[in-house]
Symmetry: C2
Subunit: 224 residues, 2 copies
Amino acid sequence: MAAPVTVYGPMLSPAVARVAACLLEKDVPFQIEPVDMSKGEHKSPSFLKLQPFGQVPAFKDHLTTVFESRAICRYICDQYADSGNQALFGKKEDGAVGRAAIEQWIESEGQSFNPPSLAIIFQLAFAPMMGRTTDLAVVEQNEAKLAKVLDVYDQRLGESQYFAGDDFSLADLVHLPNADFLVNRTSKAGLITERKNLARWWDDVSSRPAWKKVTEMQSAPRPS
Amino acid sequence: MAAPVTVYGPMLSPAVARVAACLLEKDVPFQIEPVDMSKGEHKSPSFLKLQPFGQVPAFKDHLTTVFESRAICRYICDQYADSGNQALFGKKEDGAVGRAAIEQWIESEGQSFNPPSLAIIFQLAFAPMMGRTTDLAVVEQNEAKLAKVLDVYDQRLGESQYFAGDDFSLADLVHLPNADFLVNRTSKAGLITERKNLARWWDDVSSRPAWKKVTEMQSAPRPS
């Protein structure tokens, strides 16, 4: 029987990879339903019922649909609290304070890290794949913005092993897709690997089995 | 005795107003600690200990510090679960599914609504206050982006009374500061008031006592 949890979208999408990483950390079986964005399938009426903005991923668990990758990750952690990595969204005994320590860095990712890193990834990795011209001015502008954010991150990761403390958590996980693209698919790896604490963190988090499985899924041949 | 909950930053900051609205909905007493951004107080070493990116608000509750307005709002709802508006972050009986229904629209606000609306507000309301020139090209570009988001919102608010269903929730609250600026301090009120369902929603949510109190606090004379 097919798993009741379905993620709609291509694995190469950072937001789809974010959700897949969370499901793998939580040991929740799932299936990927490809969405051919080059054919505009993400703007079809049936897809818009799952994701009103026509973006990927869309997500379905039995009859529940959720959109926005970070909201989906939170849902997975709450709904499957007793499965897989149980510290991912804070230990029960740490309560609201423990969760807030994670949430502030999830929000930093969404508000401060994602916009400039995604802009760089788009220009240096996706544009060439799509046959578009890379806009180097956009890369330069966003590299300057991202460097400031990464300076704060490097300082934080000099104070604690992971963003939210001693445990790998959603705060770290949400950063993985864009960080991996930067390091492995652009010429800007140094933004991460040349910052001491960030480099130590990256070696650690990128070698987790769940993330290695995501990158295997990303490099698998597409279904024909 | 001073309230143990302190919000650091000027009330005119949309992110500060977001946190104040949440505290008022939850009936949590708090004090506002002004931060003079024109004097660079948000970049001082003591402030950076509270908020490593040097942005407002910073937030303190007893010994707990939290940054990022949406993370602070979630913390307030979790930590003060039994106080004030108890449906604000989902009713207990609705569990993970109820919370996900709210989270997906909080993320939409952060990812899709906030960037273009904040850009417009900055150009049309803050730039004149700061003696800077308004860049109308930026306004136009972001107005086009925002219109697409608001079309999705208008459709959603034709299906249900509030973003996440029958109850006012954090999903609605996080939108209030930027929406209020657009409607009351720019020439772009029509983006909201000329969309039927969004206009109905705005009349409702902006007349809530907690939000009216925020706007009173915003128009109060600054402490000299």
